[in-house]
Subunit: 187 residues, 2 copies
């Protein structure tokens, strides 16, 4: 199982066995069942999660109780309410399992120790953060320039497996369209 | 002038004089006049820019020639077409001066040398990248949950000076509303 983490890190930077041992020590393993919450709105956000297996949704609930899917997260992804995690404030989003899920996770304190103790991991996190920023910027651009049909097709192309694993109502929420509009787009 | 860069970096991490000297060597200074382009769509993206003074717009032009403002950038900000910069591909956006502008900038090669030679700068860039990711995520969330009036008020609160320095038509383009809607919101 730990090898998934090593494989993931080594897509960006190679580690010696000793270096990987040091990295691994900073993580703990957790398992969750479908429908369990890793983060609930209003709670402290203790962990950043690397997903070994399973599927989650990161959700923001607005003042009128409407749920907005901020992102899906599956194998090989990192997820958390990162604003709350990094600033040690209360969660404004929730993170819930859509399938049984296994994660490796660390606290902010462990993250800082990892960065202090390993320039390689600092470089790994920088690469991931840059990638996260670019992906968000592309999504902003896509929401400005694409219609729902185009956004649906982009998502289908990028993450074909999502459409097998996630109820259509959630895909619609992620795309910001109604369930009816999605049915029209996907027919 | 160079002190602006030092002040900016030292908001996150303190440098010795020697360390700052090393950092400074990786930057070059450039000056641009209002309406000049730092990046044009289709060109190579040589530099990441730190803005010493002035104001710029990052623009994406869609297939129907409509311009979308991806972001504004002013003093103390970093800007580039970062996807093109990091992947060394052609620019899909343009970066144009709205005022006379002075920048410090580095190439991807210099950026890598800076990261290799200074774990402190690695940490600085990680902090900036995390912040950039969080700001983008908040903007995605805001576009999902807020109406144009709320988005207008958020922007006004966050960057009051923008409204003195930028034509209303560009603010409208950034918010994704028509010039007429913006007049209604701001009256």
């Amino acid at each position: 199982m730990q090898d998934k983490l090593r494989e993931h890190i080594e897509k960006i930077i190679l580690l010696t066995d000793d270096e990987y041992l040091f990295v691994k020590e900073h993580f703990i393993t957790k398992k969750f069942k479908k429908h369990q919450f890793l983060i609930q709105e209003g709670d402290d956000v203790k962990y950043s999660y690397f997903i070994i297996s399973g599927l989650l949704k990161l959700v923001y609930t607005d003042d009128s109780e409407k749920q907005h899917i901020v992102s899906f997260a599956m194998e090989d992804w990192w997820e958390s309410d990162y604003y709350a995690f990094f600033t040690q404030t209360k969660a404004t989003m929730s993170l819930e399992c859509l399938e049984d899920t296994e994660v490796l996770c660390f606290t902010l304190e462990q993250y800082k120790k990892l960065c202090d103790g390993s320039p390689k991991m600092l470089r790994f996190f920088l690469e991931k953060a840059n990638f996260g920023f670019l992906a968000s910027q592309r999504r902003i651009l896509s929401s400005m320039t694409s219609n729902p049909k185009e956004r649906y097709e982009q998502l289908l192309k990028q993450y074909p497996s999502l459409f097998q694993r996630v109820p259509k109502s959630l895909i619609a929420s992620y795309l910001g369209v109604s369930r009816e509009t999605l049915s029209r787009l996907s027919s």
